[in-house]
Amino acid sequence: MNKTMRTMLIGLLFFVGIQLSLSTDTHAFTDRGLAKGTKGDDVIELQARLQYIGFFKGKIDGNFGSQTYWALREFQEKYGMPVDGIAGTKTKKKLTSVSSYDKKFVMDNIKAGKEFTHYGGKPLTSQVKGGSTTTKPSTNTQVPSKYSEDDLKLLANAVYGESRGEPYEGQVAVAAVILNRIEHPDFPNTVGGVIFQPGAFTAVSDGQIWLEPNERAKEAVIDAMNGWDPSENAIYYFNPITATSKWIWSRPQIKKIGLHIFCN
């Protein structure tokens, strides 16, 4: 019996030892390397840990941007690691061993849209901005720097309102037409200016622009913002079945996608 107890005790100690050694491992992060341009919960952890030890002073939002990059390089330099601004296995292991991460605190505050920090050495509860101060919830979407999240939202509304029944290619093309107009001297130079130009889009006139866009419309806009233009530089499009303007028929036509004809 004593022998059995001893064996169980040794087994238990061995198990606890394994658990303790794993707690300093990188398992809290995902297995992938994190570099500039990545996003997600593992980037949130990276930012929170870097902030805990004072390297990262920006907003914890899960987007690996320039601030995170410089903070990570500084951390790597300080701890004598190769300085490349990439959080690989070794960097994450070192970071995990020298910092702490209160996942619940961070995630709860992000979900609630509250302004907060995650510095070590002071109570976390005192690092949440008081009262009902909230920040605009981030969609955590990464778009080229010349566009904003508001642009993305408005464009997704317009694309969904104008072309939700169209093939994906057609939805990207509608988004591209709006972006082409912004660059064109004959049109306003903002997303809002182009979309709300009187008479420019049916979805604005009939109120369908205010329908909640789906993920497909949002992805179509992201592709257009990233450079795809299936319309091949069009600045107009129309549905030949429903178009009432004679003038639109005089525009040089480029191609037809779904029900829309795209033209110059």
Binding site: T30, D31, R32, G33, L34, A35, G37, T38, K39, G40, K57, G58, N63, G65, S66, Q67, Y69, W70, A71, Q142, V143, P144, S145, P167, Y168, E169, V172, P185, D186, F187, P188, G193, F196, Q197, P198, G199, A200, E215, E219, I222, D223, N226, G227, W228, D229, P230, E232, N233, S245, K246, W247, I248, R251, P252, Q253, I254, K255, K256, I261, N264
Partner: protein, 428 residues
């Protein structure tokens, strides 16, 4: 029976009250919009007169402060009128030509001091002055009584619609088009830029539909087994291309290939997405192998953005003279997050290949060029388009500056010959 009568009367009264409230609400909204339109018409009219004066003022001076002020007025007023015009339900053709004219006038006036010979500037402004005066008079006739704010929506539409209105908006559009052509013809560089944009300069031999399909199948064997159809671009397209649509297994999409040379303009596919995220290094390796195998051997990685289902990667062409990156010649790749498969390729900018000229490179002391708090972290050479649409060789500097405890990162592009700052962009 009494109950039925009561219910019927109640329903009629309720419906009447509801209709009355809705009608009142609609009327209020229409009134508010009508007032807004009237305000914009009034703004555009008074600013058009101010613009006419500002243009005339430039004719008073040769160069100097007075001239500068008038030019700035022209730029500001043309921009203000553009905003008013953009917010009015005007005939689309008229709106387009009018915005174009104002944009060109403002740009010419703003850039005139750097680019134009004073005599030439005077000549253009003299012509513009006559045209704006004539335009102002026609605008007054067209918009007579519209600033009163008591027109119904139907009346607004009737007055401003090119096909219904009694005023000849199409005629006015034609006049403005003529003014644009006479006052601000396309400059050589603009014309050149447009040509490039339109890919008209491609001199490669034409490929057949079958050759285009073969190229598609070679580059994307996974999705090219089931082609739905292959069509040709319509006659109005600035450059002819083949449009191939496919639906292979779960993937649905298209590829556009130029007729001249069989170059890929863009490829995009939609398919259901799975879970998991592949390591970005592995995605890059896979994408770069694809680029090399596809013949894009002169590009380097520029940046990546991760989103919910895909990575968007950007590659930039490197020229041979200085090994400088050509920022206008890029390729975009969309790769699936779960397995790195290529979901999209956009090479329209890459195949337009900018025409580059060699340029002297002078050494610049960044310590004196920037404020002492600025740290230069990286320096490389790039070709970038300046505000006149000309490709210039520039130093691309990644600099950082501490801003309220945070690190701000900027890319600053400095002309290697003139030291002019071509662009400064804050990094996210």
């Amino acid at each position: 029976m009494k109950k039925l009568v009561f219910l019927a009367v109640f329903a009629i009264v309720a419906l009447s009250a509801y209709s009355y409230m809705t009608a009142t609400q609609n009327k209020d909204l229409q009134n508010a919009l009508s007032v807004q339109y009237a305000k914009n018409i009034s703004d555009a009219s008074s600013k058009l007169q101010e613009l006419d004066e500002a243009v005339k003022k430039t004719l008073l001076f040769n160069q100097g402060e007075g001239d500068l002020e008038a030019r700035e007025d022209i730029w500001r007023l043309s921009s203000d009128i553009q905003q008013s015009v953009a917010s009015l339900p005007l005939d689309q053709q008229f709106s387009t030509t009018w915005m174009n004219y104002l944009g060109r006038l403002g740009k010419f006036s703003k850039e005139g001091d750097e680019r134009t010979d004073p005599k030439e500037f005077h000549k253009v402004m003299d012509r513009a002055s006559q045209n704006i005066q004539s335009l102002s008079e026609q605008w007054s006739v067209a918009t007579a009584d519209m600033a009163s704010g008591n027109l119904s929506m139907a009346e607004w539409q009737e007055r401003l619609d090119g096909e219904k209105a009694s005023f000849d908006w199409n005629g006015l559009s034609a006049s403005i088009q003529q003014y644009t052509e006479s006052d601000f013809p396309l400059t050589a560089s603009e014309s050149d830029a447009l040509k490039k944009k339109e890919l008209k300069h491609i001199k490669d031999p034409a490929v057949t539909k079958e050759e285009a399909l073969t190229k598609f199948k070679k580059l994307f064997p996974d999705v090219s087994n089931q082609v739905i159809d292959t069509t040709e671009s319509k006659p109005g397209a600035a450059y002819p291309f083949y449009h191939i649509r496919f639906a292979d297994n779960d993937s649905v999409g298209y590829i556009d290939i130029t007729k001249k040379g069989g170059h890929i303009l863009s490829f995009l596919t939609e398919r259901p997405t799975g879970a998991g995220t592949m390591d970005i290094d592995k995605v890059r390796t896979s994408v770069e192998t694809f680029l090399k195998d596809s013949g894009y051997t002169d590009v380097v990685f520029e940046e990546v953005r991760e989103n919910d289902t895909a990575f968007h990667l950007v590659y930039t062409r490197v020229e041979k003279m200085h090994r400088a990156k050509v920022l206008s010649d890029t390729i975009q790749i969309k790769a699936a997050k779960e397995d790195g498969r290529i979901l999209g390729l956009n090479a329209a900018e890459y195949i337009r290949k900018e025409q580059l000229k060699d340029q002297p490179i002078i050494t610049i002391d960044w310590k004196t060029f920037f404020h002492k708090n600025v740290k230069v972290n990286k320096q490389e050479l790039v070709y970038v388009e300046n505000e006149h649409g000309i490709q210039r060789l520039a130093y691309a500097l990644t600099v950082t500056l501490e801003e309220n405890g945070e690190i701000g990162t900027y890319i600053v592009l400095v002309d290697t010959e003139t030291k002019a700052v071509i662009k400064t962009e804050k990094q996210p």
